[in-house]
């Protein structure tokens, strides 16, 4: 049997998601031996004609990247969006042009963009997060080898936070977005006493209005990027 061919690609991003894959130290070597993994960062491009699974990190910020992405799509059986930039365009962390002040200061910036990759191509699976959770990546990876799509996690960060028996940050007056954010990160930020900032996108049935109401009752100022999270998911706040 031929080795399964995996491609790992990077568009505009910090490459933190790829670093997270490299951080799978314990199993990395086995994966490299078992599968044909192609990536620029590893210097293992063989210019294959097809991939069984392609992981694409980063958002599309130019025509070049759009063409590259479409080429990858044509070559791949499964395409997985890796990380916040690929899943949601990385809007709130990397680039939010068109937001008030920036537009005022830099006319013309409205023509710049940073788009999630599913705006251009069909995606089989999303691994959200900034950066991705390396264990989640591995789980998805294993499933895709069987052509199985793991259930897109539909729980919330809150529900994972409570499993760590953390105290609620909202109770302490901190603007934590855990209750409306898709889980899968094992509530890592709240576990280190830092508010969830929603990098995994909204959960299936996020009650943004309800959370804003809760913030209001507790005199908590919502974070500025909440509007961006909701805007990119096509919801109004």
């Amino acid at each position: 049997m031929n080795k399964i061919r995996i491609g790992i690609f990077s568009l505009s991003s910090c490459e933190g998601c790829i670093v997270q894959i490299l951080n799978l130290e314990d199993i990395l070597l086995n994966l490299l031996k078992k599968f044909e993994i192609e990536s620029r960062i590893l210097g293992t491009q063989n210019r294959t004609e097809s991939y069984d699974i392609a992981f694409v990190e980063g958002s599309v910020m130019s025509i070049d990247e759009e063409m590259e992405l479409k080429k990858i799509r044509r070559m791949s059986k499964f395409l997985v969006a890796l990380g916040e930039c690929a899943c949601h365009g990385g809007n709130f962390l990397v680039r939010d042009f068109n937001v008030g002040e920036i537009l005022e200061r830099f006319p013309g910036s409205e023509t710049w963009y940073s788009n999630p990759i599913d705006r251009y191509v069909r995606i089989e699976y999303y691994i959200p997060g900034c950066p991705i959770d390396k264990e989640e990546f591995f789980t998805v990876f294993k499933s895709l080898l069987l052509e199985k799509f793991p259930e897109q996690i539909s729980n919330t960060v809150c529900s994972e936070c409570i499993l760590k028996e953390n105290n609620c940050l909202i109770d302490k007056g901190i603007a934590c977005l855990g209750s409306i954010t898709r889980g899968g990160c094992k509530a890592i930020c709240p576990t280190f006493n830092r508010e969830c900032y929603g990098c995994r996108g909204l959960s299936d049935d996020a009650n943004v209005e309800g959370l804003l109401q809760t913030f209001k009752e507790k005199n908590i100022e919502p974070p500025t990027h909440l509007t961006l999270i909701t805007r990119r998911e096509g919801r109004k706040t």
Binding site: C14, E15, E25, L42, P131, T191, T224
Partner: protein, 424 residues
């Protein structure tokens, strides 16, 4: 008359997408190093945001060295608010940064560079015959990551550093475990350094200026700036020394000192701070006959290896100190006030500058970030131009390979640097 001689699209085994174009202009080589990553406007994005969100956002500039970005911004903001955290918090942050340096150097030296040194294409080819070495390196990398994971919450985009201290302090147990691990790291590291330190590197000199921090201790997060051990100046004066320029062909900004290219990174650090290294590191550099100051850009690789010995020593010292007494698990209380702060640190790839102005409500009104790789671009171009003259007569294919190697020796980090903004 100008025509393109060589174009390397997407130099492999570097962080981020960069193309190198070699042109022949009037019989002279002209090299363009073009960052291809999308423009990511970071500084503009920070304006109007609360100072609290800044460390979080800036670590997203780079997935390889997020820790040092994060902590440098925290330090700059602390200066802007005129506060200084307790020593223990500072030590923990330093340990995190060192953990980050170690893992970054390990990736660069073994995943990216070692194949060049032994004439292989990539890590996979090295596996044959050298699997044990790779396994050990990966084990070391895991320890380095474990340090940042446990202290910072996560190795990529750390969580705990915050203005005034840390959001969560490690327990004594955790610190003791880390001490044990890093002591082992220190020992094991020496087993794997040989292939790097012994390797043949191209003999090539390129006189240039070297910028780094300079301090009574080997500098990481503090110190004055030094140019080739000749000019010294305070961090706040950086704008008087460093000037920038935009090149149409790149999404990154380019920097100069005295109108000339300069180099930052491990080589600069060692050139400017050799005497502050720990004894072990000095001994290794004597043993393998690597002397500093050096004008050979490829020595940067060896400088990283020597530096790792020092850093591994240092992290053990820090953790010993932290575990020897009760830990102060407290943040500095502060009031928000308008102010301005500059913090300069040594990131794995060189000098990193963060500079913020904060208004009375804690919102950012001005921000300037200068990354190591952006500072190195002009130096890489100059260096490549000189290097190419030594390669005249070689096959184009060989030349491309050599170009790649030299670019890699600089350990560029393209995503960090891609923030150039066309002024209107």
């Amino acid at each position: 008359m100008s025509h393109e001689l060589i174009e390397v699209k997407g130099v492999p085994k570097v962080e981020g997408a960069v193309d190198v174009v070699v042109k022949l202009v009037n019989d002279n080589f002209k090299v363009e190093v073009r960052a291809r990553e999308g423009i990511r406007l970071l500084e503009r994005l920070l304006i109007g945001k609360s100072y609290k969100e800044i460390p979080f956002i800036v670590s997203r500039m780079c997935g390889v060295c997020p820790i040092v970005h994060n902590i440098t911004s925290v330090q700059a903001l602390e200066k802007a608010l005129s506060i200084e955290p307790y020593e223990d918090a500072k030590s923990i942050r330093e340990a995190m940064v060192i953990g980050g340096h170690l893992q970054s150097h390990l990736i660069h030296l073994y995943l990216f560079t070692l194949p060049d040194l032994v004439g292989k294409k990539n890590i996979l080819e090295i596996l044959e015959g050298k699997e044990e070495l790779v396994k050990t390196v990966l084990r070391l990398k895991r320890v380095a990551n474990h340090i940042t994971d446990t202290l910072g919450g996560r190795a990529v985009h750390p969580i705990t550093p915050t203005v005034g201290g840390l959001t969560r302090y490690p327990s004594k147990n955790i610190l003791e475990t880390l001490l044990m691990e890093s002591t082992l790291f220190k020992k094991t590291l020496r087993e794997v350094l040989e292939p790097i330190l012994e390797a043949e590197i191209p003999k090539f000199e390129n006189r240039t200026q070297y910028l780094s921090l300079h301090d009574s201790r080997y500098p990481i997060l503090e110190g004055k700036l030094s140019v080739s051990n000749e000019i010294f100046f305070e961090q706040e004066e950086y704008e008087n020394i460093i000037s920038y320029l935009n090149e149409e062909y790149s999404t990154a900004r380019h920097y100069l000192i005295n109108g000339k290219p300069y180099m930052v990174g491990a080589l600069s650090r060692l050139n400017n701070n050799y005497s502050q290294l720990c004894d072990d590191a000095k001994e290794y550099s004597r043993k393998y006959r690597i002397s500093f100051p050096s004008n050979e850009p490829f020595v940067n690789i060896k400088a990283q290896a020597i530096e790792m010995i020092h850093l591994a020593d240092k992290i053990v010292d820090i953790l010993e100190e932290l575990t020897s007494k009760p830990l102060k698990q407290e943040n500095i209380k502060y009031n928000i006030r308008p102010g301005e702060g500059v913090s300069i640190s040594e990131a794995p790839r060189g000098t990193l500058i963060h500079h913020y102005k904060v208004d009375e409500s804690g919102k950012i009104i001005e921000a300037n970030i200068i990354t190591p790789t952006a500072q190195n671009y002009k130096s890489i171009e100059e260096c490549l131009q000189n290097y190419l003259t030594t390669l005249i007569g070689e096959k184009l294919n060989t030349i491309s390979k050599e170009v790649e190697k030299l670019v890699r020796a600089y350990d560029p980090c393209v995503s960090c640097s891609a923030r150039f903004l066309r002024e209107h």
